[in-house]
Amino acid sequence: MSAAVVVIGVGNELRGDDAAGLLTVRAVDGTALPSAVQIVESDGEAARLLGQWSGADTAIVVDAVRTGAPPGTVLRVDVESDTALPSRWSGAGGTHALGIADAVALGRAVGAMPDRLVVIGIEVASTETGSPPGPAVRQAVGAAARMVEEEVAACVSPRPAG
């Protein structure tokens, strides 16, 4: 049986590499996904994220990140109930004061979390307003999209018993 999975691409297309999450979910091969998988785009605002992922069994959020890794690095965090996301986890430093880390904390406080949350981050170089996404991020989008597809496949396939 398929799980209800939502894939959320977060970003702002007018701020350079901050578009990474949006570009990634657009690069996901939607035709190959089961019907129980929904792909949405988001600006990453905390309350909106809660609305987009609440009720899902699994949410996969794709966002631009700054961790100090080389631009274009793709990383994955499986957010368990007791792990905290890095406080600076947000695209572009945020078009918003409340980002994914706040959404997770708020979602836990009010009981609006999916059963499982996976965050896929793409390291950004520049998020200057008006600039197009840079080469490192554009190149990383394909790998990030494949990671999303694998993640979805793992959710909707029957898990091995035991």
Binding site: E45, A46, A47, R48, D102, A105, V110, A112
Partner: protein, 435 residues
Amino acid sequence: MTHRTPASRTLKVDALPRVEGEGAMYVEIRDGAVHDVQLRIYEPPRFFEGFLRGRSYTEPPDITARICGICPVAYQMSACLAIEDACGVTVDERITALRRLIYCGEWIESHALHVYLLHAPDFLGYESAVAMAEDHRAEVQRGLALKKAGNDLIEVVGGRAIHPVNVRVGGFYRAPTRGELAPIAEQLRGARDAALETVAWVAGFEFPDFDHAHELVALREPGGRYPMLGGRLVSDRGLDIAPSEFLVHVVEEHVERSTALHAHLIERGNYLVGPLARYSLNFDRLAPLARDAARSAGLGEVCRNPFRSIIVRAVEIVQACDEALSIIAEYAPPNPPAIPAPARAGTGADWSEAPRGTLWHRYQLDTSGTILDAKIVPPTSQNQATIEHDLFHLVEHLIDADDDELRRRCEQAIRNYDPCISCATHFLDMRVERS
């Protein structure tokens, strides 16, 4: 980082939380007296105005919607109205009703976000909405449900909750059917009840005595409606102007510390746009339900205490839910969903009431509809000088408070105005220097 000596201290705050986007605040105290207060705003320097030049006159609704994730509809509406003014066309009542409907969704979602997640924690003594939610789970859930009702309304009319794609110059690409609006009406009835509960909840907060004397400026619409789309810009001191006259009365000046421009009324000084001004100049236009809610919350017909803006926002959520329900009850899809708006050479200007206040757009087109010039004045730039003014007096009043208290109260005072720093700015830092 905090340094303190008896006569001089420096307080630096790296971020001002719970304000849309980020910016910076600087406070300088010399010999025990406030010397300077600056709100520094880093605006993507008029990027959008430059970006629009050379583009087609049909593009601003989609492009300017991306200036802000919280008030895209406001940008779309002001852009459409201003371009329609340039084209010399006026949309019909049905299209206007549908525009007001989607705008109600934006007021609901933006105000619910501010009241519950950004402003209420100040009054209840929490560092953040997350901390508040631990103790006030039911209230935060109510706020999130309210915000979702606003988002869902925008999505039904606009095709998408953020950066709606269904809005165009002349109207809409497609009008929703009555059947498509029925489920949202059900949701809005619940939201209206939640909004009334919100008014009662925030009315119970404690408010400092702090009335300001700023000139209150807001739209006044013909036809007796609470201001939202177009009309004249009026004030409590006799201002009464058309959109084309805006820059005759308002001057925007560059301030060295900010990439945003400070707006002033010529020979009158700083002024205030936003919920307090809108409410105070249009109390008679509120729906009876919203007016009763305001009275029962202890608000007079004019409100000059910026801390009480949280009640006014809650009243405006009631107003928006109520008006949305009225529009849906009488709804007949506009047919066609958009009127023709052929390009012509000329300049058009108009405005609308964004959740945070009046948003003015002006476009100059050539005969083929190419944009020669674009000008956008967002509410936060108009309020910036007023916010600084309030901060100056607040710091004077709190000069003996310790740094943490001073910082907390300044942050709260800034949040009173719900500055959408992503419209007008970028990152927010706060620094207090005492010497």
